[in-house]
């Protein structure tokens, strides 16, 4: 049993350089936690604090009940996969994989056996005698992974391990990663700025901004119940539409059209409305549209079309996803917003003000 606990971690480099402000997280055995956020949000710094490559200004890193905050990285029994892979260029694949075991004075026969198991699992058998310089990007990535797996550590740390792979390979390796770490049953902390990786791999996602956790939830909930405007805008592609609207008598105004505001939001003069492009649709013939508008841009993705609509008599633009087989009137398109799919955010704080999303 080795649950990973982070308690009030803070890292301050200079009076106004505080990449990690106050973060507390718990990762259980077998849990796959992704730290998701834009560059500069503190996710990599947080990972380095966990690994022991940097010392926190205050706060604790605890694994299985043991406080490791002041232990050097080598004594934490954590394995890390680097974004650059950080393979030792002068060592063969086998030497790279076994370096940590040799340092820990594991018996030679056991080292051989463990290299065999890991290289079998990752398909590296025929590459063991090569040097990293002679490997492709995907192969190097596997070696980096093998180096982490062979140690059988208590915690796995991965720092954007897929960002140096091309798109097709990334998808393959993503699937493999999921299988491999499902089987490990250890806490995994995974850093990425890629929401697809976060959504597909994780059992829990922590969305980070400015050194603070914005939301900590399972991926599906991050998607359906974003805690604030930032999370809502960061997760989901194409991005969620945001409208800053004036309210009157529980109705939000978009030009000449109005959208009912749920009662639990309360009386406000201003409200931010968020709606994902896929939650908008064309109005049926017998249906009252939420609004009408003019099409200003069509982007065809093959599977679907992303249509930008300018609401009639306003400058407000909304993007919506329309299946390829549907047709519309360029000049007068009728659009329906499902009330249940609308996210309401406080116009000042950006925090979510309702949980009424189906």
């Amino acid at each position: 049993m080795a649950r990973l606990e982070l308690q009030h971690l803070r890292k301050q480099f200079a009076p106004h350089v505080i990449p990690v402000k106050d973060i507390s997280l718990t990762v259980e055995d077998g849990e796959f936690l992704t730290l998701l956020g834009p560059s500069g949000c503190g996710k990599s710094t947080l990972l380095r604090l966990v690994a022991g490559l940097d010392q926190p200004t205050h706060g604790q890193v605890i694994v299985g009940g043991t406080d490791l905050t002041f232990q050097p990285p080598g004594d934490r029994n954590m394995a890390m996969v680097f974004q650059s892979y950080a393979l030792y260029p002068h060592m063969t694949v086998a030497e790279n994989i076994s370096a940590s075991l040799k340092i820990r004075k594991v018996a030679a026969s056991e080292i051989q056996q463990r290299i065999g198991v890991v290289s079998e699992k990752l398909g590296l058998n025929h590459l063991l005698d090569r040097k990293p310089g002679k490997l492709s990007g995907g192969q190097r990535q596997r070696v980096a992974l093998a180096r982490a797996l062979v140690r059988n550590p208590e915690v796995f740390l991965l720092d954007e391990p897929l960002s140096n792979l091309d798109a097709l390979l990334r998808e393959q390796v993503r699937e493999e990663l999921k299988q491999i770490f499902n089987a490990q049953n250890k806490p995994v902390v995974y850093v990425t700025h890629d929401q697809t990786e976060a959504m597909t791999l994780s059992s829990k996602v922590a969305v980070l901004l400015d050194g603070m956790v914005q939301q900590l939830d399972p991926p599906s909930r991050i998607y359906t119940h974003p805690a604030n405007r930032f999370v809502a805008g960061f997760v989901g592609s194409p991005q969620m539409n945001f409208l800053e609207l004036n309210c009157e008598n529980s109705m939000a105004r978009v030009g000449a059209f109005s959208i009912p505001v749920p009662t639990e939001v309360g009386e406000r003069s201003q409200i931010d409305l968020g709606i994902r492009p896929e939650d908008l649709r064309l109005a049926q013939a017998d249906e009252t549209p939420t609004f009408r508008g003019r099409v200003t841009l069509v982007e065809n993705f093959g599977r679907e079309q992303l249509v930008t609509v300018q609401v009639a008599a306003t400058t407000t633009k909304i993007r919506m996803v329309i299946p390829p087989d549907q047709e519309w009137d360029e000049q007068d398109i009728a659009v329906v917003l499902e009330p249940a799919k609308i996210h309401w955010f406080d116009s000042k704080t950006g925090d979510r003000v309702t949980s009424s999303v189906a």
Binding site: G52, R76, M78, A86, Y88, P89, A99, K131, L135, R147
Partner: protein, 303 residues
């Protein structure tokens, strides 16, 4: 007329040779000719005994060389000087490089200042070191007496072992910065995350130094060795200024001996034979190092 690929390639190759001709001619003039000329000269006896006329004598000069104890003495002196100065320079240079590779305030300034000894003309710093080791007025004797290590002033440059020691000291002082800067370039090409990965693998700083740093700067170490060996083996200026090869030939290097043979004894044929032998020794050493170098080249970025 259409050209076949073959004739085109022939033409291109001919153009290539034409373009290279000037460079090849200059190479032949400044490298090949002097070397061949020295070989040629070494098969003649041309000295005061022959009234400076060149008389063909085959390999007589080489036979004389084998029995020439002064030559072997100078070769021994040179080897001693080379071995000690290079080892010390590598060791101290590596320490310097490791220090300069750390981030600290004023690092840029320190790096520049560290290079000053290397930038000084050898003759100038040689004179300075001769004064430093001067037995009457030298600062070394002064310091040692003040610190109580010695009672009487020591003759540094007048005693065989100590004169060699003084020479090595001066050479180390002058050349260590060069090696430090060369090794520093090697250190800076090592990505920092290798050390981080190694630390996570459980390595101590000393293990990282042995298993990451040393193997990855091996090419720079060998280049430093190669440069320094070639320079050190042919050392002339420093010795000429500080000891003139004395006392009693105790610090006479091969270059000094060759200089004396040709310019003082006007023994051109024998001098040429000495040059040829030295040249061959140097070439063998350089080829050995270059061979090692091509084996240690590793690709740091992995691309």
């Amino acid at each position: 007329m259409p050209m076949t690929p073959d004739t085109r390639r022939q033409r291109e190759s001919r153009t290539g040779w034409i373009l290279m001709t000037p460079a090849l001619m200059i190479l032949a003039l400044v490298f090949a000719y002097p070397i061949l000329r020295a070989f040629w000269l070494s098969t003649f006896t041309q000295n005061l005994g022959t009234q400076l006329n060149a008389e063909f004598s085959g390999l007589t000069n080489y036979a004389r060389l084998i029995g020439d104890s002064r030559f072997w003495q100078s070769l021994w002196n040179t080897s001693l000087f080379t071995a000690f100065s290079i080892s010390l320079e590598l060791l101290i240079g590596l320490v310097f490089a490791l220090i300069l590779n750390q981030t600290f305030r004023g690092r840029g300034l320190v790096r520049t200042v560290a290079l000053i000894p290397w930038a000084l003309p050898t003759a100038v710093m040689g004179l300075a070191w001769a004064w430093i080791f001067n037995d009457q007025f030298g600062v070394v004797n002064d310091l040692l007496i003040r610190l109580g290590f010695i009672q009487e002033r020591i003759t540094w440059l007048g005693e065989p072992t100590r004169a060699m020691l003084a020479l090595i000291c001066a050479d180390v002082w002058k050349t260590t910065p060069f090696i430090a800067i060369l090794l520093l370039a090697g250190l800076q090409s090592i990505p920092g995350d290798l050390y981080e990965a190694h630390a996570i693998d459980g390595a101590s700083p000393w293990q990282s130094f042995r298993h990451i740093t040393l193997p990855l700067i091996a090419p720079q170490i060998l280049i430093a060795l190669l440069f320094r060996f070639a320079q050190s083996f042919g050392i002339f200026d420093l010795v000429q200024v500080m000891t003139g090869g004395g006392p009693a030939g105790a610090t006479e290097t091969v270059s000094i001996y060759i200089y004396a043979t040709v310019r003082r004894y006007l023994d051109f044929g024998y001098g040429a034979a000495l040059v040829v032998v030295t040249f061959l020794i140097l070439i063998v050493a350089v080829l050995l190092t270059a061979g090692l170098l091509s084996k240690t080249r590793v690709n740091l970025t992995g691309d």
